[in-house]
């Protein structure tokens, strides 16, 4: 039984069809990397899974909950999948702890004391327990992204979507964020990540999806995809001849 079932999904922006019938099934505990050139539709696919974009055709089912574009269904879907963004998108007016507490209190109506306990636990999990009272402006990019991960984890999602989460970071900060993701993967969290970190995809992911021009071009275990690219597009993308 797959956790995330994406079936024949099509998405258009005006006349431009960015997803041309995508089907991927993701099992619980899988770590899936989506790779491809910019404009291949990989970020759009991720945003569709979280309902940030509506789909024109096909279906997306997450743990039995169908994606439908109304507030009740969207909320149910979003409680199951968390999302981490390239630009972190922390709430700048709240402290790190406040960021992690807010949605628990507002969406789940968790009492403040419990929300704070969860927030401390989650910040500790990403190695930032000591930054509970720091404002986002006072944190490095890598720390901000780790707070964003803690914020998503606090909602206890069954899967996390990561949209190029290290692309906006200085090179020396990438490792600390990837270390957190790696740990999550080891703990059995289902992860779907759009990434340009090929080495990370090879080492950590259980499957790699190569997207090209709105289609899934190749899909398979990282050792196959990276060692034996079957199509010229993937060979070109990986820079091997």
């Amino acid at each position: 039984m797959s956790l995330i079932a994406i079936t024949e999904v099509k998405k258009r922006f005006g006349d431009n069809e960015v997803l041309k019938g995508i089907s991927v099934d993701i099992a619980p505990g899988e770590v899936v990397a989506i790779i491809g050139k910019s404009g291949s539709g990989k970020s759009t696919l991720l945003r569709c899974i979280n309902g940030l974009e509506t789909i024109d055709e096909g279906s997306i089912v997450v743990a039995g909950a169908q994606f439908l574009p109304d507030e009740v269904h969207l909320k149910a879907l979003r409680l199951k999948v968390g999302m981490i963004f390239q630009q972190f998108n922390l709430f700048p007016h709240l402290t790190a702890g406040g960021n992690v507490m807010l949605s628990q209190m507002v969406v789940k109506k968790t009492p403040k004391k419990d929300a704070e306990a969860v927030a401390r636990k989650m910040l500790d999990r990403v190695g930032l327990a000591h930054k509970f009272d720091a404002l986002p402006d006072e944190l490095s990019g890598g720390q901000q992204q780790r707070v964003a991960i803690a914020r998503a984890l606090a909602m206890q999602p069954i899967a996390l979507l990561c949209d190029e989460i290290t692309s906006a970071l200085d090179p020396e900060l990438v490792a600390e964020v990837l270390a957190v993701v790696k740990e999550l993967a080891a703990e059995g969290m289902t992860l779907v990540m759009v990434t340009h970190e090929m080495r990370f995809a090879r080492d950590v992911c259980s499957r790699v999806v190569f997207m090209h021009q709105g289609r899934v071009h190749e899909i398979g275990a990282p050792e196959d995809v990276f060692a034996n690219p079957r199509t010229p597009e993937l060979r070109q993308f990986l820079g091997v001849q």
Binding site: N50, G51, L52, E71, L74, K75, R78, L79, G82, M83, F85, Q87, N89, L90, F91, P92, H93, L102, S103, V106, V107, K108, D137, A148, R151, A152, M155
Partner: protein, 219 residues
């Protein structure tokens, strides 16, 4: 013929200036409340609400305040209701202020990065929760300097209500002039009183802008 001392003139003008202050406060607070309602219709909600709010804002921004005052004063009278000047002045100024504040605040809300909406949506928040806990707290900070700055326009706008016969600072100026035949002294004082009301507002708008550091804040 009675002689008027400088003090007589100033005293009468200052007494009338109270009404300018009261009218400004009423317009600003009332306009703020109506403006907030317009803002919510304008940026969220349904299509008809957005259109309605947009139409309202364009109508009130696209016609002179003086015409709005005339329409409030004479228009409501057509329904057989006797409108006192103060009521017409309050109504027209509140509606006028609301249109401008709604538009200023819309700009502030839209200046908040799209990622804030997406992040809060991805955490499961609904529209009102996003507004209440994520967008407005940030937008309010951006909104303070231009809002205080606009209050200067409201104070000066109250001068027009003299034309429908509401006795505030400007109207008092012409009444006193007619009695004293010293237009330069009188209107000079009127201008100074307006300046004394408006300058602190402009100045505080500038200071707030620097203090809240709106331009340099990164999201």
């Amino acid at each position: 013929m009675t002689e008027f001392s400088f003090w007589d003139i100033l005293r009468n003008l200052l007494l009338a200036a109270r009404w300018t202050v009261v009218l400004s406060l009423v317009s600003f607070i009332g306009g703020g409340i109506v403006g907030a309602a317009l803002l919510f219709l304008r940026i969220g909600g349904r299509r008809w609400a957005r259109l309605l709010s947009r139409g309202y804002i364009q109508l009130f921004q696209g016609t002179p305040l003086l015409m709005q005052l005339f329409l409030a004063f004479f228009g409501i009278g057509l329904f057989g209701i006797d409108v006192p000047a103060w009521l017409a002045a309050c109504v027209a100024l509140i509606l006028w202020t609301a249109a401008f504040l709604a538009e200023i605040w819309r700009g502030c809300v839209e200046s908040i990065a799209k990622g804030q909406w997406e992040a809060s949506a991805s955490l499961g928040m609904g529209y009102l929760q996003q507004m209440r806990y994520v967008i407005l707290p940030q937008a309010l900070k951006v909104a303070v300097p231009p809002t205080v700055g606009f209050s200067v326009q409201v104070v000066k706008g109250t001068a027009l209500t003299s034309i429908i016969g509401f006795v505030e600072l400007s109207k008092a100026g012409s009444i006193v002039t007619n009695a004293t035949f010293q237009p330069f002294t009188v209107y000079g004082l009127v201008a100074l009183i307006y300046f004394a009301l408006c300058w602190p507002l402009s100045k505080s708008s500038q200071l707030l802008e620097r203090k809240l550091d709106v331009a340099h804040r990164n999201h």
